[in-house]
Subunit: 236 residues, 2 copies
């Protein structure tokens, strides 16, 4: 279990008013959805960055079978990226221009979460796509029109995480000594990934108040992440 | 102009019988088509290798616009790869198993033609996809059933070379001093690429006779390559 935000000041509140405050402040990510343009551009660039991670995993693949499986996942992620750039075009925007502002932070994130070998690169793809697609689906809940349905359809399925879990699971079965290293690497990834998730939400600047508002939503993201790590027999 | 095969012994033949011999021996690649299984597996793995080159070009992209353009090309190549693996499945074969025998030579080819920087990686993708897709379309002419039409439909369009020419052309316009280096690199690539093309044809072992039979077909491949280099204002 990862704690990105300290539960500061909490215990000084009397139970009843604390509960009330939580009810008032507890916002789903839908309430922090950015405007569609920003959402689509950020989401689109995140898919492109995930694709880069997956293509590295493909190149490093120890067997033709895993290379083949990963090429399908890479294709899915590229399809998502292109669907999102088409949404930007539909808004009359130039996708490259719209994505540009998000490149530095995402590229830096990708460099920081590169992974030392094939198994770690795979784990990066699994953890990052799991958390960020979850986050993007939840944020989409606050977008206008039929964006919520369309984004959930596009990003809310398990077409990326399921095949990755299969390849990773097989790899851990084959080399059980990988488990502890991958669990550690997974834990290392969550903090950076949640910071990217945070930057996708519409928060003016990271004030303590904002982070307190975000915490419940992020607790949900982490719970889902923990479930995905459990599926591999790893502790989150 | 590249000469892979020396025109040995030719001048010793009298003109008339030489002409006759050329007519008899001149075979299109269609007459050297391997069995469908081998064709599909080799073609499928070649697309995967080309995808690896393209994904490297994407990662190295200096601008978001070129990254975006290259992601589309990469998607096209992955689609081709998957269409070919589906053909293998239709024959009741396991694609990974079927591709395996072609991996060592193609991987070695990819390593040898890696390119030192973004422009060279792009040029590799342009030259290699140009020559090999040409070769695969011509070989497909000798496959049974409606394979020739299906393979021409899949691989015989300019969906890969056209956008690559556009990105490369823009890059050369921007940095004219690139032209001579890229022309040199292009020339360096042709020999290796034609050897891979040769290995896709159904020739028992490289005897002099076989190479003489191949030469006219390869002259056509090189002529098309020269045309593609011309399109960039480069000498082949």
């Amino acid at each position: 279990m990862v704690r990105l935000f300290p539960a500061r000041a909490r215990k000084h509140q009397p139970t009843r008013s604390r509960r009330k405050a939580e009810t008032i402040n507890r916002v789903g990510l839908a309430q922090l959805a950015p405007e569609p343009k920003r959402y689509l551009a950020h989401a689109s660039y995140l898919q492109l960055a995930l694709f880069e991670t997956l293509s590295r995993a493909m190149v490093l693949s120890p067997s033709m079978a895993t290379k083949s499986a990963l090429s399908r996942v890479a294709n899915t992620v590229l399809d998502r990226h292109h669907a999102l750039t088409e949404e930007l075009e539909r808004l009359g925007l130039d996708p490259a221009e719209a994505m540009e502002p998000f490149a530095p932070a995402v590229d830096e994130f990708n460099a920081r979460t590169k992974g030392a070998d094939w198994a770690e690169v795979l784990m990066t793809a699994y953890v990052v796509s799991g958390i960020l697609d979850d986050c993007l689906v939840q944020l989409a809940g606050g977008l206008p029109g039929d964006y919520p349905q369309r984004m959930t359809h596009l990003l809310g399925n398990d077409d990326v995480t399921d095949p990755l879990a299969e390849v990773l699971g097989a790899q851990i079965d084959e080399q059980p000594q990988l488990a502890s290293r991958l669990a550690l690497w997974g834990r290392r990834l969550v903090g950076d990934t949640l910071l990217i998730a945070r930057s996708a939400a519409d928060l003016p600047q990271g004030t303590a108040t904002d982070d307190e508002r975000l915490e419940p939503a992020f607790t949900d993201l982490v719970a889902e992440h923990t479930r995905r790590m459990d599926a591999l027999g790893l502790t989150a």
